[in-house]
């Protein structure tokens, strides 16, 4: 009798875990397939199929009442929503990688295994409710990312970026781990919920140990999220990494960390600590202003987008600081908009770049030593590639928060959360930051629509690769999604309301 019950609950747990299990299983299947039949096309197809299966399994009816699966993982609506977001983003990145890394003539199968593992790490992060699973997910994500960034391993820039990321990720993991240890030293537990219960008790407050631990955790996460003053690595890594991998770092890696941080703050009651929220609001203001101001000085599209993504994370923190149901929804909506926008923007950069090819000797060499990422590469783009320029314009306007795009609704959501919680200083910083940001977004748009540069643009037309059908379809889908959810956000908001319930 009891064993039947036990196997039943095990069965339910496996069903609940199926999105993550399917990701892991796909990684193994892809690895085996690549070992026996080394052709990128079937490997990529298998990867995409696994990702689709994983998304489908998100909709399986939850078997048990409690979403808590062991002490480590919790697969509530919040986690499922973010896993879905991560898996879809991984799908898009996988599609973008194929032609970029040489298509069928190049041996880049390992890339897909790494992508799947990184996605698994992101999935574990957003579902974790325990320091152990937090660290497991983080390391899985980071280690896959080193390899992904430096994947064209005979080219200078990606290698440099990979090493920078390796050092910083190691450093931040160390801080994080020490922070966890300090919190454990005070409270004796590593479960978020238990930490929250202890702190909610009448005499429960973080002492010096715990507070220092929390500060170290925020610092470690701050490195991953590229918040000011922990942002130094971002522009270099974004510029050096291959464009589709940059898209992955900007979206999956940051999104998963932020979702986890929000869960930690709400479940473990960290937001009740005044000094930590004060520090976070200072970080938010600094991130918005520094990110936007430094972006003004750049001439490289990938660097501009890097600083822009720093500023966007600052905007997110403004909503984050409200710490209520509206904040969860705002963060989730903004993050979704940010995912779509960043994937679209880096997607355009990918499509315009030649990418890297794997020669017969296993040696990678690009037709160009770099991606098409200089501002001059985009001169007059609208007049010879109107659709591509249109998609890029839509993405930039979304980042600037102009109506008809998701970015507008996202920024509106964030402002709503901020105003509702009377966070006036971060809100004003957000407004000022958005005004500064217009300069550099408009600068790119103006270059794309400039005419009278026929001579230079012809040279570019020759240089620029032509996108495959899959890439064009992906970019078109992203742009349509951006506009559709910018005009009719009600459905997505409905889903997010469900996700927000679990945490508060």
């Amino acid at each position: 009798m009891s064993s039947a019950l036990h196997s039943d609950s095990l069965h339910f747990d496996l069903v609940a875990l199926s999105p993550l299990i399917l990701l892991a299983a796909t990684a193994i299947v892809v690895m085996l397939a690549a070992a026996f039949y080394r052709h990128p096309r079937p490997v990529m197809m298998l990867t995409l199929a696994g990702l689709v299966l994983s998304i489908a399994s998100l909709f399986l009816p939850p078997g048990s009442a409690s979403p808590q699966i062991t002490a480590l993982l919790i697969l509530d609506h919040y986690a499922l929503f973010f896993i879905g977001l991560i898996v879809v983003a991984t799908f898009v990145v996988a599609v973008l990688c194929y032609r970029y890394f040489g298509g069928d003539e190049s041996r880049h199968e390992a890339l897909y295994i790494l992508l799947l593992l990184a996605a698994l790490g992101g999935g574990v992060l957003v579902a974790s409710s325990h320091f152990a699973s937090f660290l497991l997910g983080l390391e899985l994500l980071s280690i896959s990312l080193f390899a992904l960034i430096a994947y064209p391993r005979f080219t200078e820039h990606p290698l440099e970026a990979g090493i920078k990321y390796l050092i910083l990720a190691g450093f931040s993991s160390g801080l994080l781990l020490f922070g966890m240890a300090l919190v454990y030293a005070q409270l004796g537990t590593m479960q978020f919920v238990k930490i929250g219960i202890m702190l909610a008790a009448p005499d429960g407050a973080l002492e010096l140990y715990g507070l220092a631990g929390l500060a170290l955790i925020v610092t470690g996460v701050g490195f991953k999220l590229a918040l000011v003053p922990f942002h130094m690595w971002t522009p270099d890594v974004y510029e050096g990494a291959p464009a589709p991998i940059t898209a992955f770092i900007a979206t999956v890696s940051k999104g998963a960390m932020l979702a986890l941080l929000l869960r930690y703050f709400l479940m473990a009651g960290a937001h009740q600590s005044q000094s930590i929220t004060l520090a976070l609001s200072l970080i938010a203001v600094a991130t918005i202003l520094v990110g936007n101001l430094l972006a003004l000085l750049q001439d490289n599209i990938k660097r501009i987008l890097a600083y822009s993504s720093i500023a966007q994370l600052g905007y997110l923190l403004v909503g984050f600081l409200a710490f209520d149901r509206l904040a969860i929804e705002a963060v989730a909506y903004f993050l979704t908009a940010y995912f779509v926008t960043m994937l679209g923007a880096f997607g355009v950069v990918t499509v315009l770049s030649d990418g890297f090819k794997d020669g017969s000797g296993g040696e990678f060499h690009g037709a160009a030593e770099r991606d098409s990422d200089r501002l001059a590469d985009y001169a007059g783009l609208f007049w010879h590639r109107p659709w591509l320029a249109g998609v890029f314009t839509a993405m930039l306007l979304s980042l600037a928060g102009i109506p008809l795009t998701m970015g507008f609704i996202g920024k509106f959501y964030i402002l709503t959360a901020g105003v509702e919680a009377s966070l006036w200083i971060p809100v004003i910083a957000l407004v000022v930051g958005s005004i500064i940001a217009l300069f550099y977004y408009l600068r790119i748009i103006t270059v794309m629509y400039a005419s009278g540069l026929e001579a230079t643009s012809e040279a570019i037309m020759l240089r620029v690769a032509s996108p495959s059908f899959a890439e064009s379809a992906t970019l078109a889908a992203l742009a349509l999604l951006l506009i559709w959810l910018g005009i009719f956000p009600a459905q997505l908001i409905g889903v997010l309301e469900g996700a927000g319930v679990d945490l508060t």
Partner: protein
């Protein structure tokens, strides 16, 4: 339904013209003309429908309404409604839409499809602004019309277009962000006191708030409207944008976009924040009077035809600001009249500037001189609209300015006296414009064709409207005072100064 149709016809027409240009070059302008033509017929039909209702003194205000749920999470609905003031502004917008298509007919040769797409979408955004009665929807349209206008200036503009377009966009969008924060603050104040989360204009009308909060929120709205109207010192984007824009862009900017700012003052600032507006009115009126004089003096100093006209806009809209903040039936009626008359007369001056630019490739008045003998019809029209701009009795601008001054004199006779000085200054700049451009010897040896049939039709119809507004202003005035008297009656009650 008809209100939503007013917007969607333009949106669809814009997309169609863009597509059509790819299949059949040259089709875009015909499609655009058909779209604005249908729009104009619809708005005139609406006016005729409601003219009898508006003539009634006790008429309650709202002529048509559409409401549909949009984002229930925030209490945002797709709520459009039209009263007298919206109606005449929509009619003006539709008419200037036709004018702007007509004046681009030969001017725009490259990428015509995308041009008309942007033009129609700007007009659609402006009509949305005039009709929206949900604050979220209002803000949505408010921002939406900026992007196509940015492209109009940035792609088809003159020499310094990139600087002008970016400056325009940053000023307009940046000030809009402050308004968005103010809207949210207002909505949450209302939510805290009533428990209802809504962006609906009518529900937010009677929000209770402390005087200092009210002032701060009002300032958030005010900065957005002050940039658009423009009110000195927020006008610095305007001369660049108006000068560098293509003719149609200048017409729409001066005729329609500036009106959205004045409309915002009229529709939102005073009714939503009656107390704060009353406290703030002296400051706003001083700024308005400053604008009236400052714009006129700077206009006189210009050598660029379009820049001169641009500065006259600052001056004319100053009257609208004065009229709105004096807030009595005469001055508000005068402000509305001024908005309409300015839209037509300044639009016509920009059309004339566009015609000159297309033929001579310059706007520098020092290079014109003596054009009367070369293009008598154009010169006559130039004289006509210059005189209209200086406020000669019998033309629309005079009615507006006169009513504003009459209303203002009961509130602040000092400011009224100061503003009256402009009647001297405006004569100076208007006649200087005519003299420099048209009079004298044709020393530069210009040989130019006079107005074509299309150009004549455009300018003559605008002249006829200016005369009609000057001689029989009652239809416009019937529509206008409703705003000052009816729905936001609270505003009048708390703020009214010795009417009757």
């Amino acid at each position: 339904m008809i209100l939503a149709a007013l917007i969607f016809i333009l949106v669809a027409g814009g997309l169609l013209s863009w597509m059509a240009d790819r299949w059949h070059p040259g089709a875009a302008k015909w499609l655009a003309l058909a779209t604005v033509g249908i729009e104009f017929v619809l708005t005139i039909w609406l006016w005729l429908q409601s003219a009898s209702a508006m003539a009634l003194p006790a008429h309650g205000g709202w002529l048509a309404e559409t409401r549909a749920e949009w984002i229930p999470r925030f209490g945002v609905s797709f709520h459009l409604a039209m009263d007298g003031i919206s109606l005449i502004l929509v009619v003006l917008t539709a008419f200037l839409g036709i004018v702007s298509v007509a004046c681009s007919w030969t001017e725009i040769q490259k990428r015509a499809g995308f041009f008309y797409f942007n033009l129609l979408w700007t007009v659609a955004g402006a009509i949305g602004v005039f009709l929206a009665l949900d604050l979220f929807l209002f803000f949505f349209f408010w921002e939406l019309m900026l992007v196509p206008m940015y492209f109009l200036i940035g792609i088809w503009g003159h020499e310094n277009r990139q600087y002008a377009s970016i400056k325009f966009f940053i000023f307009a969008q940046g000030s809009g962000m402050f308004m968005l924060v103010a809207i949210l603050a207002l909505v949450f104040l209302h939510y805290r006191s009533t428990g209802v989360l809504t962006f609906d204009y009518f529900e937010l009308l009677n929000t209770t708030m402390s005087p200092s909060t009210e002032l701060w929120i009002m300032l958030g709205f005010f900065i957005a409207f002050a940039v658009k109207t423009p009110i000195v010192p927020f006008h610095i984007w305007l001369p660049d944008a108006h000068t560098e824009a293509p003719t149609a862009g200048s017409v729409i900017l001066a005729g329609v976009l500036l009106k959205t700012g004045a409309y915002g003052l009229l529709r939102f600032i005073v009714p939503l924040f009656p107390e704060a507006a009353a406290h703030f009115a002296p400051v706003a009126m001083v700024l308005g009077a400053t604008g009236v004089l400052y714009g006129a003096f700077l206009a006189f100093a210009q050598t660029d035809f379009k820049r001169l006209v641009a500065y006259t806009s600052v001056s004319h809209l100053g009257f609208a600001v004065l009229g709105i903040f004096a807030w009595n039936p005469w001055s508000v009626g005068g402000a509305v009249m001024q908005m309409i008359a300015h839209g037509i007369s300044t639009g016509a001056l920009f059309v004339i500037a566009g015609i000159l630019q297309e033929r001579t490739h310059t706007r520098d008045m020092r290079r014109f001189e003596g054009l009367w003998s070369v293009m008598p019809r154009l010169a006559a029209m130039g004289l006509f609209f210059a005189i209209a701009a200086l406020g000669l009795p019998g033309m629309g601008n005079f009615v507006g300015e006169f009513l504003v001054l009459m209303g203002l004199s009961s509130t602040s006779s000092v400011l009224a006296a100061v503003a009256t000085v402009v009647f001297v200054a405006s004569v100076v700049y208007a006649l200087a414009l005519v003299q420099k451009t048209f009079h004298g010897e044709n020393t530069h040896g210009w040989q130019l064709p006079d107005l074509s049939g299309r150009e004549m039709a455009t300018l003559y119809s605008m002249a006829a409207i200016t005369l009609w507004l000057g001689l029989y202003p009652q239809p416009v005035l019937n529509a206008a005072p409703n705003t000052a008297n009816s729905p936001p009656a609270i505003a009048v009650a708390s703020h009214e100064i010795n009417v009757e």
